[in-house]
């Protein structure tokens, strides 16, 4: 089977901690340039999925392909090369708090490119302008709000213009307006940069906005995957509860 069209592919991946299987023979793929939202209740292995993709964790069984490279078999030097093609937006941004906003975004550019300081400064301004934070260049991460930190994290994750962007809970701790702004930024990046995204979220409304494909994890297994419309038609109770949760919120707001 050709893997050319898939930027990311999980093939029968199993991962456990302390004897408990968090992921049990999980298989899914993400076509290049599309966004896949992985959803599920807390503790169902969503974030583990991202850490496996980045090679921060090794699967107990199965194979993981990133840009057609089987990553669980790579040594640390090989992983470094793969990671240069991946951006990661962490749940709480994980900005380096000893560096300013500008230095955070410049960090991967200084490490992995041969750009001059002037070129790096220009690139940092561009990346920050893309997330609307050009004026915050000199501020320290601890002085920023949660939404601003998330946007700086996005600018840093996208600094090297990776072909794949991994996003962990983009709406976590944010108000609905900021959540929508972050979702719009992600959608813009996907459309403009043709970036493949794997977004872990429990926010169905976000998933509907960002995702071309939705995957629902439950008790270590994938119980449904497809477009939002396909999942709306799914008869599985857990899937229905998930997909209807944002409708219930909307109805409650309207009442």
């Amino acid at each position: 089977m050709s893997l050319v069209d898939h930027a990311v592919r999980f093939d029968g991946v199993t991962k456990g901690f302390d004897g408990r299987r968090v992921l049990d023979h999980v298989s899914f793929d993400v076509p290049r340039g599309q966004a896949c939202c992985v959803m599920g209740r807390s503790g169902t292995g969503k974030s583990v999925t991202l850490k496996l993709l980045l090679g921060l964790l090794k699967p107990d069984e199965g194979r993981i392909y990133v840009n057609d490279v089987q990553i669980e078999a790579l040594d640390s030097a090989g992983l470094v090369e793969v990671r240069k093609t991946i951006g990661f937006l962490f749940q709480y941004s994980a900005l380096f708090d000893s560096l300013s906003v500008g230095e955070n975004v410049a960090f991967p550019l200084r490490r992995h490119t041969h750009m001059s300081e002037a070129e790096i400064a220009e690139c940092v301004r561009e990346r920050l302008a893309a997330v609307g934070l050009e004026a915050e260049l000199e501020r320290m991460p601890l002085d920023l709000s949660g939404g601003m930190r998330k946007r700086v994290g996005l600018a840093r994750a996208f600094a090297l213009q990776p072909s794949i962007l991994l996003v962990d809970e983009p709406s976590s701790g944010l108000d609905p307006i900021t959540t929508r702004e972050i979702d719009n930024l992600l959608t813009d990046l996907k459309t403009a940069g043709k970036t493949t995204m794997v977004v872990v979220t429990h926010d169905v409304a976000s998933a509907r906005r960002i995702g071309d494909k939705l995957v629902i994890l439950h008790e270590g297994h994938i119980i449904a995957q497809g477009t939002a419309q396909e999942l709306d038609q799914n008869r599985n109770d857990v899937v229905q509860q998930f997909m209807e949760s944002d409708t219930e919120v909307q109805n409650a707001i309207q009442r």
Binding site: V80, R83, I86, F90, A94, D97, P108, A157
Partner: protein
């Protein structure tokens, strides 16, 4: 023949070394009651901990010689660890010099040997007091700092963020700090020794008319190359111990803010203990290598 069955060895529990040894408070009854083999448990935990730290140190030595060498970060850490510790070390050194000088004078006066005060002070400082005091001060200031900083980075996923940016976090964070500690320690020790001698001179000038030139001439009269270099170079090992223990505990932190606090405290306790114990071995080694010259 009646055979008494051997007591079943208690299962090793993950009791933290400092919790068991140094916080005999509310924890101790639980720990004591949890096992009938309390000392055995502690020994097992200690050996396990020492093994982990030893493996961390060996990995650091291996990785230190691999590219990229992270020189910019090493220099930054020398500034953070060395330069920023200098006021503490110099101030403490002067105070120690004053106190040592007063004690030495009180003893020497009885024998009418006041002229030997500078030499006695310099021997005491350079051979042992300077290196050990510098080690303890640095393990307090820097050990706690590294433990808390790396622990905080681990808990807030900043270490994972480094890895996600294709950076070897072990090399970038741990190895650079260990190397910086090893470079900074002899320099700080020399500063401690010198400021101690200056403190001693200041104390002497209040009770005698000794000139600065004469004082330092007498102080260095008995100090040869070996007497200075051997004790100063042993602080490179102190730096390795402080850097390795505090980096290991910070880098492997788990358990949120409580974990950060624990990593910080344990960094100070274990690195202080480590360098005091290793100092005994190093002094013995120096005496073996330089039987006539070492102090």
């Amino acid at each position: 023949m009646h055979v008494v069955p051997a007591p079943r060895p208690a299962r090793l529990r993950p009791v933290h070394f400092d919790t068991a040894y140094f916080r005999f408070g509310r924890h101790s009854p639980r720990i004591m009651a949890s096992s009938s083999n309390f000392p055995g448990n502690l020994l097992g935990t200690f050996l396990s901990e020492a093994g982990s730290i030893g493996a961390f140190g060996l990995r650091a030595i291996r990785v230190a010689f691999q590219s990229p060498f992270e020189l910019r970060e090493v220099v930054r850490q020398i500034y953070m660890i060395g330069w920023r510790s200098l006021p503490l070390v110099v101030t403490s050194g002067m105070a120690i010099g004053v106190v040592l000088s007063m004690h030495t004078r009180a003893t020497m006066e009885r024998f009418g040997a006041e002229a030997l005060i500078p030499a006695a002070l310099s021997i005491a400082l350079i051979a042992e007091t300077g290196p050990l005091m510098t080690g303890l001060l640095v393990s307090g200031r820097v050990g706690a700092g590294i433990g808390a900083e790396l622990g905080g980075m681990r808990v807030t996923e900043q270490i994972d963020a480094l890895e996600s940016l294709a950076v070897d976090s072990f090399h970038y964070l741990a190895v650079t700090r260990i190397v910086a500690c090893m470079i900074a320690m002899p320099i700080l020790t020399t500063a401690m020794n010198f400021s101690g001698l200056v403190g001693g001179f200041l104390a002497e000038t209040t009770v005698s008319n000794v000139s600065l030139r004469l004082y330092f001439h007498q102080a260095f009269a008995g100090i040869g190359f070996v007497e200075f270099v051997a004790p100063t170079l042993k602080t490179v090992v102190f730096g390795f111990i402080i850097g390795t223990i505090s980096s290991c505990l910070g880098y492997t932190t788990t358990g949120g803010s409580e974990g950060i606090g624990r990593a910080s405290t344990r960094s100070v306790v274990l690195s202080s203990m480590g360098l005091i114990v290793v100092n005994v071995l190093l002094v013995r080694m120096i005496f073996l290598i330089f039987p006539g010259g070492a102090m």
